[in-house]
């Protein structure tokens, strides 16, 4: 990040150079109400968004894949309770509960990562469960079981690789969703701590300068849209690659 550091410090305030237009007073993308460099803040904000989204996606994927595989492998009360939990979480507006949870356990990086990850794993669990059920009926699964492979070996060694293509697509789209969720929470004031350079915080602060400095909104808005679109493009690319491979089979 030292290269980005050369562009300026996102926290340095300079009231003599406040609300500079892009290109003025030595700021490539202007400065905010405290004279802080917008470009530096957007880059720091992107780093924050990417880190929160990555952490939340990893947690959601690990928990969701584990519970999805467990539900597929163990019929009976384990499957029933996991599926009931998945339905329950998915039927409830995630943002509402995330707002309440983050407000209660406090703002900050880990609070956001844990809340977003632990509220969004059912998305993975549902798909993994459905695909694992159909994969488990394949002949090579039966062969593995007859060869005496342990349950864990079957799930981790034979089933998981079969799920990899659709998992990679889901990870990309989930990453985009997590970035949107993080910025929405920060925008509503229940995400990144106040003053942290995050895209959501910057957009919330920009609303006071709606009339005099629209670029304070346009710059972070462009950054978040580009980041989300980039993640969606990766997901789309992976999905079309997967369907091409399916057709070739």
């Amino acid at each position: 990040m030292s290269v980005l550091g050369l562009l300026g410090d996102p926290m340095i305030t300079d009231l003599s150079r406040r609300l500079a237009r892009p290109g003025e007073a030595g700021f490539l993308l202007g400065s905010d109400q405290l004279g802080r460099d917008t470009l530096a803040r957007v880059l720091a904000g992107l780093r924050w968004s990417l880190a929160v989204a990555a952490g939340a996606t990893i947690i959601a994927a690990v928990v969701g894949v584990t519970l999805g595989l467990l539900a597929a492998d163990r019929p009976g009360w384990i499957r029933l309770s996991i599926n009931q939990l998945v339905d329950m979480v998915l039927s409830f507006p995630g943002l509402v509960i995330a707002i309440v949870v983050v407000a209660a356990i406090g703002h900050g990086f880990w609070a956001l990562v844990l809340t977003l990850g632990l509220l969004s794993w059912p998305v993975f669990a549902r798909v993994v469960y459905a695909e694992a059920r159909s994969l488990l009926t394949r002949d090579y699964m039966l062969a593995a079981r007859l060869a005496g492979s342990s349950r864990f070996r079957i799930l981790a060694g034979h089933l998981l690789p079969g799920l990899a293509p659709s998992l990679s697509v889901m990870v990309a789209f989930h990453f985009a969703d997590m970035m949107i969720a993080e910025s929405a929470l920060s925008f509503l004031g229940v995400g990144a701590p106040l003053g942290t350079p995050s895209l959501g915080n910057m957009l919330a602060e920009s609303r006071q300068f709606l009339f005099i400095a629209p670029e304070l909104m346009l710059v972070p808005a462009t950054a978040i849209v580009l980041a989300v679109i980039a993640a969606n493009l990766v997901g789309d690319g992976l999905a079309s690659q997967e369907s091409r491979l399916e057709e070739e089979k």
Binding site: S91, P93, G94, L95, V100, V225
Partner: protein, 321 residues
């Protein structure tokens, strides 16, 4: 006494069974949610300190603890809290002094009205767009429309709102940038909320129409000389729309997340902006009332959609075939 007529009818029975199962999951959800809220909201800090104010003496704080029962063990507090909820006592707002649930329900209409308007706009735009896109050959026009949809999908709802405000309220000065009342105040919030579902619904309609037109029976019919227009309007489109309507029901919960954002930005007096305001002012009784109200609303919508789909689509009926 013989079984009532409706219970013997297999279709009604399957619908009733589905509703019963959903009522069970609602009760489970409400139980989990209230328990979660109880422990979460007690993690946010000492309520007695908040109620007493910064200048209170130790004796005053102790008195307040005793008055509100905060000195009892946590388990006892939890049981009495559940007891209050069962008697439909949701506590009072520390801001307005009104009953928390009454405060929440008084704002319900603004939220529901905006959600319905946005849903109507979404459907009115997404179905023609998707139906047109799905039937079109892969030309420049289709690809550029798909590109616009993709761009919109990459925009968080609050970014859409901020851009709309900047363009129509600040630059062009055509519409108010916030408020609730006359027709013009409805336009930007409706468009914002509609943008949450529009890209998804358009894509689903388009891909459903596209898939329906590739079905073997359509190809056979076309080879036999049936006209494309007839096949499109009478077979491909209705099939595609049934799938798309199912999406709308399941996305209602997502739309409510959008309401929180939209209402906060436009100062809309609904339950979404109430939730944010209550969290900022630590008005826990209202936070809880709003959350429970949302859970019940989502339940009602999901149950109605499920039941009506079982009635509409014979393939979904329990025990059919």
């Amino acid at each position: 006494m013989s079984t009532p007529e409706h219970a013997r009818h297999p279709l009604m029975r399957s619908v009733l069974l589905g509703v019963l199962q959903r009522v069970f999951s609602l009760l489970l959800l409400l139980f989990v949610l209230t328990t979660l809220l109880f422990f979460l909201l007690r993690m946010t800090g000492d309520q007695a300190l908040a109620l007493a104010g910064p200048d209170a003496t130790t004796e005053q704080i102790t008195a307040i603890r005793a008055q509100f029962g905060l000195d009892r063990p946590l388990g006892v507090q939890y049981l009495s809290y559940i007891g209050e909820l069962l008697r439909l006592d949701f506590g009072t707002s520390i801001i307005s002094g009104q009953g928390a649930m009454r405060e929440a329900t008084s704002r319900l209409w603004a939220t529901v009205a905006l959600a319905i308007t946005a849903m109507a706009v979404t459907v009115a735009l997404a179905i023609p767009l998707g139906a047109w896109m799905g039937a079109m050959p892969n030309t420049g026009a289709r690809r550029s429309l798909a590109g616009c949809i993709f761009l919109l999908q990459g925009m968080p709802g609050f970014v859409v709102a901020l851009l709309l405000v900047q363009l129509f309220a600040v630059q062009l000065k055509w519409l108010p940038f916030m408020g609730y009342g006359s027709f013009s105040t409805w336009i930007l919030p409706t468009l914002t909320l509609a943008s949450f579902l529009l890209p998804k619904l358009t894509r689903v309609v388009a891909s459903n129409v596209d898939a329906a037109l590739r079905e073997d029976y359509i190809r056979t019919a076309r080879a036999n000389g049936a006209s494309f227009t007839e096949l499109y309007w009478r077979h491909a489109l209705p099939n595609a729309l049934l799938g798309a309507t199912a999406l709308l029901g399941t996305q209602f919960a997502f739309l409510l997340s959008g309401s929180v954002i939209t209402e906060t930005i436009f100062g809309w007096p609904g339950i979404g902006s109430l939730l944010i305001r209550s969290i900022q002012s630590a008005d826990f009784a209202v936070v809880q009332a709003v959350t429970l109200l949302i859970a019940i609303m989502v339940f009602l919508i999901n149950t109605t959609t499920d039941a009506s789909f079982q009635l509409l689509d014979p393939r979904l009926r329990r025990g059919a075939g």
